[in-house]
Symmetry: C2
Subunit: 430 residues, 2 copies
C-alpha cells in the first residue's frame, strides 16, 4: 500500500460515514454485552469460519492468482496464503480470545470523597476502532475478535492484495454475528482505493481510534495525516548493545537470536553496537556467526577490520544503514566508545521500539534502563521478547511505539478507555 | 486567540525546533531526578516567584493597560489580572504540587515469565510537553510545576493578551531553575504569532504531547491540525437530566448549582432536560429559580408554556442553543419523552465531558451510567464536580474529553507514559 495522499472524494467520504455510523450504532449494543455473551459469540464466529473454510480458501486462491500474475514476491505470497490449516489457526485464535478476561467494567480506581460522593473510574470500550493494515488476512479476524471482546465495533481497511480474502472473511463473520443475534456492523470492511483511507483518517467524531499496521511509510502517512486519534505501531529499528561488561557467550546468542529468529518482524534487531573494549574478542565470533546464518553485514571501519581479519564478507556501513529497518537478513554493525556512545547512537537512530543491552555490569544496566527512551528496554535478553504473546497478554493488536495511551504490546485493555462514574445523593459545589 | 491556520514560516519552525531540542535535552536530565530533588526545586521556584512579585505585577499591569486600550472585556481583564495575592496563590500551587506523590517510577504491573524473564511496566515522563492556552497566566506556572514534578520539560505558548506577564513569569522560573542547578530549558516560552502555534502543532518527533487549553475554536484547530499527539481538553456542553423518578428538591438544587455556581467553566451545565411526567411539577420552580439567578432561558415549546404560565422570561430554544456551550448565564431547557429521549438528545448534542441524571429510580440510573458516553457521568450530583481538585488529585492540567490516554480530569499520572523493562540472564526466543 503506497502513501495514501489522494484526497477523499464524495463517494469515499459517504462510504466511510455510512459504515462508521452503522458501526457506532452497533458499538452501543456491544458495549452492554456481558462477558458470557461476547465469549459465546466468539465461539460462534470460530465455528462459522471453520465451516466456511472452502469459501475462504477459494477467495484466497483468487488473491494469490492475481498476486502471482502481478509478480508478487514469494515471501508476500506466503504471508497472504490461507490454507485450511491456517483457517483453523485463525478460528482457534478467536477461541483463545474468548478465554481471556474481559477488560470492560474493570474498576481502575475509585474512592469516596469527603462530601460523600462515590467516584470510580471504569473501563469502557472505545466505540469504533478503525484499522488500516497490509497483506496478512489473519489480522482481519484477530481485529474483529479483539474488537468484539473489548466491546468495540471495528472498521477494517485491509490491503488490496488480500481484497477477496478479506471480503470472504468479513462476510462469514457478519453472517455469523447476525445468526447469533448480534449486529453485523460490529465488523465492517471498507472497499476502495487510497481515497477511502484518507476518508477514514479524517472521519473525526465517527471513529474513536485508528490503528495503522504495516510498513513505515504507511504508518507515517496515517500518523501525520489523521485528524482521528491514532496509535502508531510497529516500526522497530532495534539495537543490541554489547557492553564492556557483557558475558560474550550470552551476547553472541542474543545478537544472533535477535537478528535471525524471525527477521521480518518489528522486534528483530537491525543494528549491533559493540563496546570497543570487547570489540576484538567479540566481533570475529559474532560476525562469523551472523554471516553463517546468511546475514549481510554492513560494518563500520573498526568492525570492517575485524571482518576482514576473520575473512567474513561485509560491506561498509553508511548512516543510511544505521537508520534502516531492514526486516530481513541484513544488519548494521558499529563499535562505540562506551555506554554513552551507545545510548547516543540509539537516541539518534532508534525508533523507540525495543533496545537491548548485554552486560553483567549492574551500573551500566541501571543507566541503560533509566536513560534509553523506548517502549521496551531489555537487559540480557533478545529484542524478540517484545510481544503480547510473550508478555503473557494472550493476544496483541499491535505494538505501540508512541507514548500516548499505550506503549509496547497492545492487548485488550489497551483497546478500552475509561469513564468516571460519580454517585451522590444531591451533592452540589459550595 | 483565533484559529491558527497560518502556515509556519522558516523562522517560526526554526524557533520551535531550537526551543524543543533544548527542552528535549533538559527533559533527559529531569527524567532522572529523584522526588526529593524535584520537590526542592518546586519550593525554590515558589520562593523565587514570591520574591519577584513586583516584577510580575508590573508586567501584568502592562498587559492590562494594553488590554484596556484595546477594549478587553471586564471578565477577561479579571482572568488576566495578577495582583500580589494571586502571585502568592500561584506560588502556593507550586508547593502543593511538591506535596503530591511522584508518578515517575511507579511500577504499574509486572510479572516473571515462564522462561525466567522479569518484566515490569514503569511510569516514565513523556519528555517534552507542549501547551497552547489562552488568557489566564496562572496556567503558565501550573504547567511548569506539573511538568517538573512529572519529569517533563514544558514548551508554553500562552495567549498574546498575557504576553508580558508570561514572559516575566517564565523568566523568573528559568532563572530560579538555573540558580537551583537545574536546566532553565525545563520551562520555555514561545514568542510570536499563529505561525508559531502551527510550527508547534507540526513539530513531530520534537514534542511528545501537545495539550491545548481554551475555547472550542482553539481546541478544534489544534486537534485537527496537529501531527503531534494531542489531548483534547475541556469543551463541555454538559446536561442535567431530571428523570421521572427524581427527588425534585434535589433536582432543583443540582440544576441551579450546575448552571450558576461558576458559569464560565467547562463543567457548568448548559442544558436542562426534564422528563415529561415531572415537567408540570418541576419546570415552574426551576425556571423561576434559574431566572432569579439571572439565567437567560432558551425553552422548547413545552418548557415555554410552563415559563409563560409562571411568568418567567424566556425565548424559544433553537437547535443552535442546544448545541452551544454558553459559558455564561444562559441555559437551553427541553422536555423529553423518557430516559431514551434524554440519552438520544445527549448523544446528539453532548461534547463527552460531563452528563448528570437526577433520579431515585435504580434502573434508570444504571442505564444512564452504562449507556451515556462521556468522561464523567453523575447520578444525583452537580456536573461541577468533574475537577481534579474535587476528585482528590490535588492538581489538574486540564480535563480530557477524548478517549485516548486520559479521560476526565488529568493530573500528574496522566502526564506520564510507561516503559517496559525486561531483565534476563541470556534468554533468547526459541
Amino acid at each position: 500500500m503506497a502513501e495514501p495522499t489522494t484526497a477523499p472524494d464524495a463517494a469515499d467520504t459517504a462510504q466511510v460515514r455510512r459504515v462508521a455510523e452503522a458501526a457506532a450504532t452497533a458499538s452501543r449494543r456491544l458495549a452492554l454485552l456481558s462477558r458470557a455473551e461476547k465469549d459465546a459469540a466468539l465461539e460462534a464466529l470460530a465455528d462459522a469460519l471453520l465451516a466456511a473454510t472452502d469459501e475462504v480458501v477459494a477467495a484466497n486462491e483468487r488473491d494469490l492468482d492475481r498476486g502471482r500474475a502481478e509478480g508478487m514476491a514469494g515471501s508476500l505470497q506466503d504471508r497472504l496464503r490461507l490454507d485450511p490449516d491456517r483457517v483453523a489457526a485463525v478460528a482457534q485464535a478467536l477461541r483463545d480470545i474468548a478465554a481471556l478476561p474481559d477488560p470492560v467494567g474493570e474498576v481502575v480506581r475509585g474512592s469516596t470523597l469527603a462530601n460523600g460522593l462515590q467516584i470510580r473510574q471504569v473501563r469502557v470500550p472505545m466505540g469504533v476502532v478503525g484499522m488500516i493494515y497490509e497483506a496478512r488476512p489473519n489480522v482481519t479476524v484477530d481485529a474483529a475478535g479483539l474488537g468484539l471482546k473489548s466491546g468495540n465495533a471495528v472498521v477494517l481497511r485491509g490491503g488490496s492484495a488480500a481484497a477477496e480474502t478479506n471480503r470472504a472473511l468479513v462476510g462469514v463473520l457478519r453472517r455469523a454475528l447476525e445468526a447469533h443475534g448480534l449486529p453485523a456492523d460490529a465488523v465492517s470492511l471498507l472497499e476502495g482505493g487510497h481515497g477511502v483511507v484518507r476518508a477514514l483518517m479524517t472521519a473525526r467524531g465517527l471513529v474513536d481510534l485508528l490503528i495503522p499496521r504495516g510498513g513505515a511509510e504507511l504508518i507515517q502517512a496515517v500518523v501525520t495525516g489523521s485528524s482521528v486519534p491514532v496509535i502508531e505501531t510497529g516500526v522497530g529499528n532495534c539495537h543490541v548493545y554489547v557492553d564492556a561488561g557483557a558475558d560474550l557467550e550470552e551476547a553472541l546468542a542474543i545478537a544472533v537470536n535477535a537478528k535471525t529468529h524471525r527477521p521480518s518482524v518489528c522486534n528483530a534487531a537491525e543494528s549491533l553496537l559493540v563496546h570497543r573494549d570487547v570489540a576484538d574478542a567479540f566481533l570475529p565470533k559474532v560476525l562469523a556467526a551472523l554471516s553463517a546464518e546468511g546475514v549481510l553485514l554492513h560494518t563500520d571501519p573498526v568492525a570492517s577490520a575485524s571482518a576482514e581479519a576473520a575473512g567474513v564478507p561485509h560491506d561498509p556501513a553508511t548512516e543510511e544503514h544505521f537508520a534502516t529497518e531492514f526486516l530481513g537478513l541484513e544488519m548494521a554493525v558499529g563499535v562505540v566508545e562506551d555506554l554513552d556512545g551507545a545510548m547516543s547512537h540509539i537516541r539518534r537512530f532508534g525508533s523507540g521500539h525495543t533496545e537491548a543491552i548485554v552486560t553483567e555490569d549492574r551500573a551500566a544496566a541501571r543507566r541503560f534502563v533509566a536513560e534509553v527512551d523506548a517502549a521496551a528496554v531489555m537487559v540480557n535478553a533478545s529484542t524478540r521478547f517484545t510481544d503480547g504473546g510473550e508478555f503473557g497478554f494472550g493476544a496483541e493488536i499491535g505494538i505501540s511505539t508512541q507514548k500516548l495511551h499505550a506503549r509496547g504490546p497492545m492487548a485488550l485493555p489497551e483497546l478500552t478507555s475509561t469513564k468516571w462514574v460519580v454517585e451522590g445523593d444531591g451533592q452540589v459545589r459550595v
